[in-house]
Amino acid sequence: MLNWWLPENVATFGDEIDWLFHLIYWITGITFVLVAVTFLAFLFLYRDRPGRRARYTHGSTPLEIAWTVTPTLILVVLTFLSLPAWSRIKMSMPQTDFVVQVRAKQFNWEFTYPGADGKFGTPDDKTFLDEMHVPTGKPVRINLGARDVIHSFFVPQFRFKQDAVPGREIAAWFEVRKPGKYEAPCAELCGFGHSGMKAWVFAHAGADYDTWAAENLKGEAAPAAAGAKPADATPADAKPADAKPVKTEEKAKR
């Protein structure tokens, strides 16, 4: 049900989000149908007819208590179902050795891999423009930052979204289950090139990823941005080149 509505989910915590989404969908859907049916029935039943007088009542305390307590209970239950999922997604970080540094700028994504030494900020770092490669079945940690304005890293099929805020580095994670090529648009208005600012996330099954990494991460020359542009570049993609130079100095961690 509703698969035509939500895009396919391929990441681990997406299940929890989708489950909650469907739960709320049913709760609100049933509430809506009940309210709408009552509403329309009342409008029909109590339409003005000659000789009838309206019921003179100022309310009913038991009824009002009932319809205060019921939604409260439902919402409390929803709260307690939401909070654990939130803390699993946002407040805990699974152990992983796979870390990618993501930097947003007007209007591209930069993905930096630490290279052979496993450290960022060393000469063997490899940076890719608008293209990210991850293995499946392994938690991926991303350290998200921005060079100019606020952007948001959104991968619909991972149910992943996190704003990239200049001046701070935000750690986030996801784990992909299904190999494929997924679109990662920017979800926070970041200027006139906001629309069309997107990256592709390639999820490779274990061995395929190793092959890719061997070819692209271990070599000498950093293939930054080589072939990173997807073929279907749209006119807006070309725009950033015309943009006035923007400040790219990144604030050192205070």
């Binding site: 003179y56 009542t57 009913s60 009002e64 929803l78 909070l83 946002k90 200027g191 997107k198």
Partner: protein
């Protein structure tokens, strides 16, 4: 001591009664009813601008990068094709104008001014001159906002939320004076709103007619009272944040510029600390108006008056501690996310209470369906959808996915258009006879309602669907994304709906203007309603009442009371106990 001073005001006002020139009667009037009309006309005029901007945005989304009919005259260099910078400007200004210069002036400005003195049985506001100044500060604010369209670099294009540093560093958007004027206009508007709010609050606290206790006040007054308090306390926070933004842009300070030690998230916190009460500023008056209209056309008392009043008070308190739900994925500390989830879930309860009480009001009524009632019912039904879709966002994990998608756009439009604007239409149709002394055309009103509600749902309901499908808000061209292309047909349907919605408002304009000019003369109480404003003539004279101020003996919703033979019992009628 106090009585003499208040008395002094009224007596003073009476000396001015006669021989006021044109300027004092129609332009710099201190009469609350004239000021209400000024706010109403200003709001409706700005509605045209805001609506036109919305249609431009919709056109671009349905048929990207094709010339917009008629826009070629303005955008000569592109032949009417919207460029991304135009597009960002259009949605930014659509939201800014609709929120600050349409909904607030119409609901709080026009109906606040019109209803407060009339419904509490006062002759005018507590501070009539301040009231006049309030309009004449809000109006220049609107002019400053419009002026932004004509400055080099275009108007503000960083979204109505103006997230920093996109808004605070000119080179990120290429907008220069547009954003500055945006800040200045909001300052000035803030001052105007402050004057208005002080007036509303003081009038309601001090000037109620004899017998008008707080719990005999019509619910519209409760809502306006609470709205005024929220306005008074929320807007200054925006003002100080906008001052910081303006200094960042003009003087070169660096509050929000992270490369110089500033903190972009500070803006979001300050903005939403104002912004969430603002949401309730927009919707509370509409709730009050619906609570006012439903009993009249159901001919029965409002269901659970006290629950209605207390739920509004509850909303007002809670609105200060839920603002973080706008920032769940902003990089805000996840601990705060936990806290704000709980408060956000709680704030849904008062809204639920209100909805059920409106349903309770319908139960057992004797319902008639003139245009004001249709719009009030439209408000209730659309608010139900808007309220329920809010629960998705309150659940933080779900919000991670739907934040910044069209689902949010759908939600806000169900609340602000389906809620506030429907409420505004209901109020205009309902109080039109009192404001202008003439009736509106019933048939046109019906057609206007049905076109509006159908086109509204065609326009905004699919936004839920494409939002869940992943379409981000504020994107210029959905066709740039492969995962969105399969749902592009919805964008076309929505735009067709929006065009119908926009053009069906012409019917309203015709009805409104024709009725002012040549509508049927309205009796004092065309709807057989109970509240005090219907005791005055239509339109009420200067100082509202004849020689005697009404005295209040009962609550505002005594319809079909067994005490009298008729099915209404005005608040001021003294019933000699015979039946009970």
């Amino acid at each position: 001591m106090s009585a003499t001073t208040v008395h002094g005001h009224a007596a003073h006002a009476e000396h001015e009664h006669h021989d006021l020139g044109f300027i004092r009667t129609y332009v710099f009037s201190t009469d609350h009813k004239m000021i209400a009309k000024q706010f109403l006309f200003m709001g409706l005029f700005m509605l045209i601008i805001g609506g036109a901007l919305a249609l431009v945005v919709r056109w671009q989304l349905a048929w990207p990068e094709t010339p917009v009919p008629g826009l070629g005259m303005i955008l000569t260099e592109t032949g009417g094709v919207i460029e991304p910078s135009h597009y960002n400007m259009a949605f930014t200004m659509h939201a800014t104008i609709m929120i600050f210069f349409v909904v607030m002036p119409i609901l709080a400005g026009a109906f606040g001014n019109f209803l407060i003195p009339l419904q509490i049985g006062a002759r005018d506001m507590a501070f009539p001159t301040l009231n006049m100044l309030s309009f004449w500060t809000t109006f220049p604010a609107a002019l400053i906002m419009i002026a932004g369209f004509f400055v080099p670099g275009g108007h503000a294009a960083a979204g109505w939320t103006s997230y920093t540093p996109l808004s605070s560093v000119a080179q990120y958007t290429g907008v220069n004076w547009g954003q500055n004027l945006w800040c200045i206009s909001l300052f000035v508007m803030g001052v105007g709103s402050m004057m208005g709010s002080i007036n509303y609050i003081t009038t309601i606290i001090n000037m109620r007619a004899p017998g008008m206790s707080l719990f005999r006040m019509p619910l519209a007054l409760w809502s306006l009272f609470i709205t005024a308090i929220l306005l008074l306390l929320a807007l200054p926070v925006l003002t100080s944040a906008a001052a910081m933004l303006l200094f960042d842009r003009t003087l070169g300070t660096n509050w929000f510029n992270p490369s110089q030690g500033g903190e972009p998230l500070l803006w979001q916190h300050l903005f939403w600390y104002f912004g969430h009460p603002e949401v309730y500023i927009l919707i509370l008056p509409a709730m009050g108006i619906a609570s006012e209209i439903l009993p009249v056309f159901c001919r029965k008392p409002i269901f659970g008056y006290h629950a209605m009043a207390f739920s509004m008070i509850g909303i007002a308190f809670l609105s200060w501690i839920v603002y973080g739900h706008h920032m769940f994925v902003s990089g805000m500390n996840p601990m705060l996310g936990l806290t704000f989830t709980i408060t956000t879930m709680i704030i849904a309860v008062p809204s639920a209470i209100k909805t059920f009480n409106w349903l309770g009001t319908l139960w057992g009524g004797r319902i008639t369906f003139p245009p004001p009632m249709l719009f009030a019912l439209g408000f209730v039904s659309m608010f139900v959808i808007g309220g329920l879709s809010g629960i998705f966002m309150a659940s933080t994990p779900v919000d991670i996915y739907i934040q910044d998608t069209y689902f949010i756009v759908a939600h806000i439009h169900y609340v602000v258009f389906g809620g506030s604007i429907m409420g505004a239409f209901a109020a205009i149709y309902f109080w039109f006879p009192k404001m202008f002394g003439r009736m509106t055309n019933n048939a046109l009103g019906h057609v206007h309602f049905w076109l509006t509600i159908v086109a509204f749902n065609v326009t905004f309901f699919p936004m839920h669907i494409i939002g869940v499908g992943g379409q981000m808000r504020r994107i210029y061209n959905p066709m740039q994304y492969e995962f969105l292309q399969h749902q592009q047909h919805w964008n076309v349907i929505m735009t067709v709906g929006a065009l119908v919605l926009g053009f069906s408002q012409i019917l309203f304009a015709i009805n409104f203007l024709m009725s002012i000019a040549s509508g049927k003369k309205a009796p004092a109480n065309p709807w057989n309603a109970n509240t005090l404003e219907w005791l005055a003539e239509s339109p009420p004279p200067h100082l509202n009442w004849g020689p005697r101020i009404p005295t209040v003996y009962r609550g505002p919703y005594e319809y079909s009371s067994p005490e009298g033979p008729e099915d209404w019992l005005p608040q001021d009628r003294l019933v000699v106990a015979s039946s009970s």
